[in-house]
């Protein structure tokens, strides 16, 4: 059996306690709202894109609405994509999803979420921020939810 420590790796606990980029971005030119309708977790994502580059990014979660996994994932995601090109960010999203679907680890600190694989009920939590990022980059207006087929 996979140990709880695999899921709640120190990086995750740390980012949960002290989330990075946890702020509203007044200069954002792309935003998205994401929600996990089944648990009520919600994220607001603010992105500033300059040409092809994500120059700044921030997120907020309503009071109490964000488990350790979803909050840490948002925190690490924002750190990872800041300063990257849109294409690079989308690639990271793909790598992240692949990891959670049972594939090889995503690069860098994102690998901290490899333990989520053994906790299927939490995969949506880990993906939430990334789905929102994807929506923001596509500039899709509709709020995204994690309630899509691929996530079962």
């Amino acid at each position: 059996m996979v140990d709880l420590g695999e899921l709640y790796q120190q990086t995750i606990l740390d980012h949960n306690r002290n989330p990075r980029n946890f702020r509203r971005l007044e200069t954002a030119n792309r935003t998205a709202e994401g929600s996990n309708p089944l648990c009520g977790d919600r994220i607001h994502l603010f992105v500033h894109v300059d040409g092809d580059t994500i120059t700044d990014i921030g997120f907020q979660m309503p009071q109490g609405a964000g488990c350790a996994i979803s909050k840490a994932s948002a925190s690490l995601m924002t750190d990872a994509v800041k300063g990257k090109s849109i294409a690079a960010a989308e690639e990271m999203f793909q790598a992240f999803r692949d990891m959670l679907a049972g594939g090889t680890n995503a690069p860098g600190k994102l690998a901290a979420f490899s333990g989520v694989r053994a906790f299927p009920s939490r995969i949506k939590c880990a993906n939430l921020a990334w789905h929102a990022l994807h929506a923001a980059l596509q500039n899709s207006a509709a709020p995204v939810t994690t309630e899509s087929a691929g996530d079962f």
Binding site: S35, P37, L38, C39, S121, R122, E147, S148, A149, F152
Partner: protein, 408 residues
């Protein structure tokens, strides 16, 4: 033909007797019997994985959710649905059609519009449209049937001339056995600008269904007629239509956010699955599909059609017997009357020989009126029936004739 002797051993109920005789169950159009594999799937679910789905963080709940969603994928593949989200689990055909009438119908049918059904439709594909049309001040148009029990294509064309909003028809008639040219009917209806609702209650259990080939908009069926538990079934629909439709049942699971006075909806198909879903039913339906696919739906269809052919041939040899429905393009449903012996009396007499058939209007009163009868007797076959069963049926019918002195 299928190896019925072997198959029967999979159906525990067929070991029981009916009135001291071997049970010859010929009421499969009403409901089917269940193979051991389906009963085991139900039991296994409750013994090992039972939990409420979609909302649990613990292992059991994940397993139940996975089982439920895997069943959706299986159903989608079985009828070749557009996507797995095109499958909305319901209690069965009646609920599926009421969902379409209550959601799509209420949102799209207006005063002065017309809705088309056929004279061979089951009450479940008539009454919801009557209620909708009465509520909306729309007109319900019933397409006539031909003398040999097919949809009258000339009259169908006339009905389409009025540019109906919606056209509903059965793929296979439960009272005549007619297999309707559903793809053609759907195409004609689309050309007239209508959406189509196909009642698949009698097709899904008995022949290979491909909703994309039919190109219908809504397709409804019941699990209990295809080896699956009661309470199982689905509405299969084009995803874009489902997306645009208002919800049906309000409640848990189908919402995204609930405010004091309004709510937003979850994605399709969850939007239409308010309340705790029946995971047992989904799991049982999946097991039933596995059983049927193992046999092969083409072989299933062939088997039943052959039994119907033999039954029609042998019953026709009895003086006074009338068979209803077309000569060809028919499924394993054999409706008949016998002189002036009332079908109820026939059913009682047959039951004494272990033969279970249905007698009555088969939930098709408008059709009965057109056939000019109050009731018919109906034998309907499934995979566990064979020519022996037909023989028992035929000799029991002869016995009824003797008792009642028919033909007089």
């Amino acid at each position: 033909m299928l190896e019925t002797q072997k198959l029967r051993r999979d159906f525990p109920i067929l070991e029981r007797q009916e009135n001291g005789k071997r049970l010859v169950y010929l009421d499969n159009a009403a409901t089917s019997q269940k193979p051991r594999k389906v009963l085991e799937a139900i039991e296994h679910y409750y013994r090992c994985h039972n939990a409420n789905v979609h909302r649990g963080a613990y292992g059991l709940a994940v397993e139940a959710t996975d089982a439920y969603e895997a069943a959706r994928t299986t159903v989608a593949r079985f009828v070749n649905a557009w996507t797995r989200e095109a499958v909305v689990f319901t209690r069965g055909t009646t609920e599926s059609i009421n969902l379409v009438a209550g959601s799509w119908g209420r949102a799209n049918v207006q005063r002065g519009d017309s809705v088309v059904v056929t004279a061979m439709d089951h009450h479940s594909n008539i009454v919801p449209w009557q209620i909708l049309c009465q509520e909306k001040g729309a007109k319900l148009r019933m397409v006539e049937i031909t003398a040999d029990g097919r949809i009258d294509l000339a009259d169908y064309g006339k009905a389409l001339d009025a540019k109906p909003k919606l056209v509903a028809f059965p793929y296979v008639s439960n009272s005549l056995g007619t297999v309707n040219p559903a793809a053609q009917l759907s195409k004609l209806a689309h050309a007239a600008g209508a959406v189509t609702v196909v009642d698949g209650a009698q097709s899904t259990p008995h022949l290979r269904v491909d909703v994309q080939a039919l190109d219908c908009d809504f397709y409804a069926f019941s699990g209990h007629k295809m080896l699956a538990p009661m309470g199982s079934g689905a509405l299969v629909a084009k995803p874009a239509l489902l997306d645009a439709m208002p919800p049906y049942h309000g409640g848990g699971e189908m919402i995204e956010r609930v405010w004091d006075d309004r709510s937003t909806w979850n994605k399709v198909p969850h939007k239409f699955e308010g309340g705790t879903p029946n995971v047992e039913a989904a799991v049982g339906l999946e097991a039933a599909i596995a059983y049927l696919e193992h046999l092969g739906m083409d072989r299933v269809a062939e088997h039943e059609q052959e039994l119907a052919r033999v039954a029609i041939e042998r019953l026709s040899q009895i003086e006074g017997v009338t068979i209803y429905g077309p000569r060809d393009h028919r499924a394993g449903v054999v409706p008949f009357t016998y002189g002036d012996v009332h079908p109820h009396d026939l059913a009682t007499i047959l039951d004494r020989d272990g033969v279970c058939i249905r007698a009555g209007h088969h939930c098709t009163q408008p059709l009965m009126r057109r056939l000019g009868v109050a009731a018919t007797a109906r034998a309907s076959f499934y995979i566990y029936n064979d020519v022996d069963d037909v023989d028992v049926l035929v000799s029991a019918v002869r016995k009824a004739g003797e008792l009642f002195g028919v033909p007089a």
